[in-house]
Amino acid sequence: MEFVQQLVNGISLGSIYALIALGYTMVYGIVKLINFAHGDVFMVGAFVGFYAITILDMSFFPALILAMVVCALFGILVERIAYKPLRNATRIAALITAIGVSLLIEYGVIYFRGAQPEAYPGDVLPTSSIDIFGVAISSQSLFILTISIVLMVILQFIVHKTKIGKAMRAVSFDAEAARLMGINVDNTISATFAIGSALAGAAGVIFGTYYIKIEPLMGVLPGLKAFVAAVLGGIGIIPGAMVGGLLLGLIESLVSAFGYSLWRDAVAFVVLILILIFLPSGLFGKNRREKV
């Protein structure tokens, strides 16, 4: 029953990828920028959660919310300072800036607190194993999955039912037409960065709780993999990022389960290459045709 446990691990890992991938895909959808600093927002969230729990003595949920709020503000700040001035610049200029911002955040954190890793306290969430059909499943995995699902449901609600969500979809589709509706494009872009970054922050706290060890460069690999997940689902498409993340987590865990755990990290990039060759617009992407 090792296999089922691996499956559960895969889903937990996948839901973390999915939360990060959502930010990539939302930001790409609205400003057509691959925000390579997004993985570092995830790292910042993990640290905010860590300090909230250890120094401020918070329990899991307050720490989660604090990390989400801090990351949301941080995301807005990064957009306003680094990306907004480049809104009409070439894509490559924005991309290089994003890489610069990523390095700045990573080494900024190292500058202020050092490069040493930190360990989340083990008792943030109760650990027990639940017996389902004779298989022991850790309650933490289920908990993580539940939180991720709740966050994604909230996100879907925001995007489809609220005014700001409709504004986000309108700006993503046609920013100039959105302006003609009276939508403030700058504020809508800020809101998108805020929501995407808050989800990455939540992913950071969840990651710390589940995998214990956090360090300033921890965002690099999950960030890249979440990017792969976003491309897998179809960049710019929100349900695509959710499915892409879960799928990637599952694939990785299965690769480990079959004894190729050394290949775990490589697998994500094999997936990226395959997708780019065979299905460049992703699982959920369709080549839109527009009426003239």
């Binding site: 409709k166 979809r169 309108a170 589709f173 046609d174 037409a177 003609l180 009276g182 939508i183 009426k291």
Partner: protein, 235 residues
């Protein structure tokens, strides 16, 4: 109601509008006619705040609006139906209409205006939940106009509403434009189909390479040799 005074608009170094002045009075349908690339769309975009004029002034209901953000201008009562409709194809017809009322908070008034839009365009009511991108070209034009009306504008800017539509549908659309005008909405209409535009307009301006070269009442311009030669198929 709207006064454009000596406006110059540039795209980078290219000047698209040269020292244009025009006026739209309350209750009128005013049309801008001109060939491709004359600068008609540019002028509308400048009025609605998508573009900023380099020089000149635009005054709407006594207030200077040039340089203001597009959202401020919508709020002051100018709606712009852009060239090519630019509906949100990935959203439903209903959501498109809701977005038209984005700045409004008066729920009852919004409902009322929705009903009015359905009256003008019954086809939209039949297709409320349909994805806007799957509408026919004519229905998309209706949606674009309905969406603009949802802001309850006092001045409506229409950019080539007849583009790509079958003659019969064009007639319908123009009849509706007249209807909208009769209910008290002032209209600035850009058209390549000069015949049709002049048939419903009170006054007209002729634009050539960024300048206004002729203006007058619709009757005067319909009778003018110059306009006949260039825009009415020259008889």
């Amino acid at each position: 109601m709207l006064k454009v005074k000596n406006v110059n608009v540039f795209y980078g170094n290219i000047q698209a509008i040269r020292d244009v002045s025009l006026e739209v009075n309350e209750g009128e349908i005013v049309t801008l006619i001109g060939a491709n690339g004359a600068g008609k769309s540019t002028l509308l975009k400048t009025v609605s705040g998508l573009l900023k004029p380099k020089q000149g002034q635009i005054v709407y209901e006594g207030k200077t609006i040039n340089g203001k953000a597009a959202q401020t201008i919508v709020k002051q009562g100018i709606s712009h139906v852009p060239e090519g409709r630019r509906i949100f194809a990935n959203m439903s017809v209903e959501e498109n209409l809701e977005l038209g009322a984005f700045l409004r908070k008066d729920k009852a008034g919004i409902r009322e205006d929705m009903e009015k839009v359905y009256e003008l365009f019954p086809r939209l009511l039949e297709r409320l939940k349909q994805q806007a991108g799957t509408l026919s070209g004519g229905e998309q034009q209706m949606l674009a106009m309905g969406r603009a009306l949802m802001a309850r504008p006092r001045l409506l800017l229409l950019d080539e509403p007849s583009m790509g539509l079958a003659p019969l549908l064009v007639k319908t659309i123009f009849r509706i434009i007249e209807e909208i005008n009769k209910t008290g909405t002032t209209i600035l209409l850009v058209e390549q189909n000069a015949n049709l535009a002049l048939s419903i307009a009170h006054r007209a301006y002729v634009v050539e390479t960024g300048r206004i070269v002729l203006s007058g009442s619709a009757e005067e311009l319909t009778a003018s040799e110059q306009v006949k030669m260039a825009y009415l198929g020259g008889h």
